[in-house]
């Protein structure tokens, strides 16, 4: 504990006092996992701001920063992501100094070639919608399955037919859809900071110039998909038409199909071209964004 705090401090200095106390605490050593949890949970706002500060600096240093709300939200979103990871794994690093542990974790992230998916176009509402959704799909199976709906307008039955899934996989697909509609969709919108007016605007734009809008969406979607495909297992590369055919006929690679085809428009179309979904008379999947779950 620090000696900065004194009971005679005036009330208006209370905030400053709390802040410096918090800093003093997280600079201290956390001896046990419980210590760590306690120290960190008392200083979450401070830790978030610190992380956000680092990400801002990273963007500035790499010439990618500008002063607007989209950039502010971008750094907040990633700051929260980093902090969440710090919280779960930091508690196994005891004894440690939480503040410096956070610094080192952020530095490690930023030493990677591409710590996050950044492109100026992705800071428009459309870009944030696609980046947020596909980014979520990289960590959530519910969101992954929902991509088939939001990007191409496929329902659960059509997903099952297009991917040629077997009976035992089907209930899970329906469950994924259900949970996404019940809670996943709303939560994801909130977590990526897309507001109701944002969504309204997108729906209107899509309505007015459907073709042009979806064309633009496809261009961004390809960019975003290529980035987040890195979240797939190493051994899920794009396959040739022949290889997909083989996989579909032999009935292996269920997970491969589900993950890769959600994140790769080219392969999805290749797989569709094989004609296995033909009986259900589904149109060839093309980008047709859906703004309702």
């Amino acid at each position: 504990m620090s000696g900065i705090g004194s009971p005679s401090m005036l009330n208006r200095d209370r905030t400053i006092l709390d802040r410096s106390e918090a800093i003093a605490r997280i600079e201290d050593v956390a001896a046990t996992a419980e210590d760590f949890d306690r120290i960190v949970s008392q200083s979450l706002p401070l830790l978030l701001d610190r992380t956000v500060g680092y990400i801002k600096r990273f963007l500035r240093d790499t010439g990618q920063w500008s002063e607007d709300v989209a950039h502010e939200k971008f750094v907040l979103r990633w700051g929260a992501e980093y902090l969440e990871q710090f919280l779960v794994s930091g508690r196994f690093e005891v004894p440690c100094r939480p503040l410096f542990l956070l610094d080192s974790m952020v530095a490690k992230q930023h030493s990677r070639p591409e710590p996050f998916c950044y492109h100026p176009d992705l800071l428009t509402p459309l870009g944030r919608f696609l980046d947020g959704l596909v980014g979520r799909a990289a960590v959530s199976r519910d969101a992954l399955i929902a991509l088939y709906h939001h990007c191409y307008g496929l329902g659960p039955g059509q997903v099952i037919a297009t991917l040629r899934l077997n009976g035992s996989e089907s209930p899970r697909i329906y469950k994924n859809f259900q949970r996404w509609r019940d809670s996943g969709w709303k939560r994801t919108l909130e977590d990526i900071g897309l507001t109701a007016p944002d969504l309204q605007g997108l729906t209107e734009q899509c309505h007015q110039q459907r073709r042009r809008f979806n064309g633009e969406a496809e261009r961004m979607l390809r960019f975003v998909q290529a980035h987040y495909r890195k979240s797939e297992p190493d051994h899920y590369p794009c396959l040739s038409r022949h290889q997909w055919e083989d996989m579909f006929l032999q009935g292996y690679g269920i997970e491969y199909r589900i993950w890769h085809l959600a994140l790769c428009l080219n392969c999805l179309q290749t797989a569709w071209d094989l004609g296995f979904a033909g009986a259900s008379a589904i149109e060839k999947p093309r980008v047709a964004l859906q703004f309702q779950p």
Partner: protein, 426 residues
């Protein structure tokens, strides 16, 4: 447009978003909307490597990575971060991550050659479970080591992944993965779970059960070993095949180049040669495919057995809960009457004159031949439906009236694998 507004105008939006994110972080793993039986996804270095089936039994996932492992994360089906670990560049690290009820034990070992991570799902312990663990340790000293899926080439790895799943997702996880740490843990004492004053006959009965269990376990281990041998053989075949493919490709190239040089040479010869080489390749390929096929069948067999066990468990659970739901059953006769009414009346009339505000919708479904009753029940459950009469191959199913257009609903149902046909009138 609003992206370029003055920072002052956007301040409330930014603050609101920041507050929301802080709430998200505070709530943490409790945010998940997934039940305890949903799979848990395992990520290594932010890459998804597989999943643990959290359906009440122990399960193991083990993966060899070609680069050192920096982080391991566990996420629910809806993407919520449940726990994680960052790991040292060299050496061993393990920790137990507590989930809502269950736990996952993570073990990571990094060497100069890369890293190995093993994740063991440990369901909330009960007497039966502890006894099994204890006895498992006593009986089997020769625990088989899992075959790691190291290698290269997309297809080989894709196939290997399936096989790995067969080998690794076993029910006796603690023994299979025991190789990463020496078995220094003290054996839990089974007797501790038996009341001191238990009659001798009870003890004898329990003993008998444990012996039977041990026998089952030995059999399972044998199966796993057989499958491992199969996999090793398959890997050899695949290695042979890819070498063969390479040599075929280079032979074809050489032939084609020679043809380029002497244009007078007959195309016929080249074609013939290519065909011969390709045929040779094909027969090897067919052999490989046959082997894969037989392994897939074995896999199916295992998963069927597992499904059976799960169904038994569900059945038991149902029986347990049904005793507490007798009061709610008073509404059942009404619903039955409703089914009868709909069966007798033409569906249009039933639709036009609803008996109550939201009457269930009646469908007649014919299932594909060979569909088990259990999978029909599961499907009905997934549809949030209820079975009615069965007549001449058609099963009546009541569902909640859909909000979507009826054609779309019927289409979706038709696309279900086990459904042969569906109609709305008898």
């Amino acid at each position: 447009m609003e992206e370029h507004m003055h920072p002052m105008d956007s301040e409330p939006e930014r603050t609101g978003y920041r507050e929301h994110l802080l709430d998200v972080i505070r709530t943490g793993a409790r945010r998940t909307g997934c039940g305890a039986s949903e799979p848990i996804h395992v990520f290594v270095n932010q890459q998804r490597i597989g999943q643990l089936d959290g359906a009440g039994t122990e399960a193991t996932l083990q993966v060899r990575h070609q680069t050192p492992i920096e982080s391991v994360h566990l996420r629910s089906e809806d993407g919520v971060l449940l726990g994680g670990l960052s790991t040292p560049e060299y050496g061993f690290k393990s920790s137990r991550i507590a989930l809502m009820r269950d736990a996952v034990e993570l073990r990571v070992q990094n060497t100069a050659q890369g890293g190995v991570v093993s994740a063991v799902f440990l369901p909330a312990p009960g007497l039966w479970h502890r006894a099994r663990r204890a006895f498992g340790r006593i009986v089997g000293q020769g625990a088989p080591r899992p075959v790691a899926a190291a290698g290269s080439g997309g297809r080989i790895l894709a196939v290997a992944q399936i096989l790995l799943a067969i080998v690794l997702i076993g029910h006796f996880a603690d023994r299979i993965t025991g190789w990463t740490t020496p078995a220094t843990q003290p054996l839990p004492v089974i007797q501790a779970d038996i009341p001191q004053a238990a009659p001798l006959s009870e003890v004898a009965k329990l003993e008998q059960q444990l012996i039977e269990l041990a026998q089952t376990q030995t059999k399972t281990i044998e199966t796993i070993q057989t499958q491992q041998q199969g996999m090793a053989q398959l890997q050899r075949t695949m290695a042979k095949l890819s070498t063969a493919q390479e040599s075929v490709a280079s032979n074809v190239m050489t032939v084609a180049q020679e043809l380029e040089h002497s244009r007078k040479g007959t195309e016929h010869n080249v074609d013939r040669m290519t065909r011969v080489l390709m045929n040779k390749n094909r027969s090897e390929r067919e052999q490989l495919e046959a082997e894969i096929h037989s392994l897939l069948i074995a896999n199916d067999q295992l998963s069927r057995e597992r499904t059976q066990l799960e169904q038994n468990y569900q059945e038991l659970k149902k029986q347990l809960t049904s005793s507490g739901q007798d009061i709610s059953k008073t509404t059942v006769p009404d619903r039955d009457k409703l089914v009868m009414a709909q069966q007798d009346a033409p569906p249009q009339i039933a639709d036009a004159k609803p008996i109550r505000p939201q009457p269930p919708f009646l469908l007649w479904v014919s299932f594909s031949e060979g569909t088990s009753q259990a999978s029909i029940d599961q499907w009905v459950l997934d549809m949030h439906g209820r079975k009615g009469a069965f007549s001449e191959g058609w099963q009546a199913v009541e569902i909640v009236p859909p909000t979507e257009p009826m054609e779309r609903v019927l289409d979706q149902i038709k696309q279900t694998k086990i459904v042969k046909a569906v109609k709305i009138s008898r």
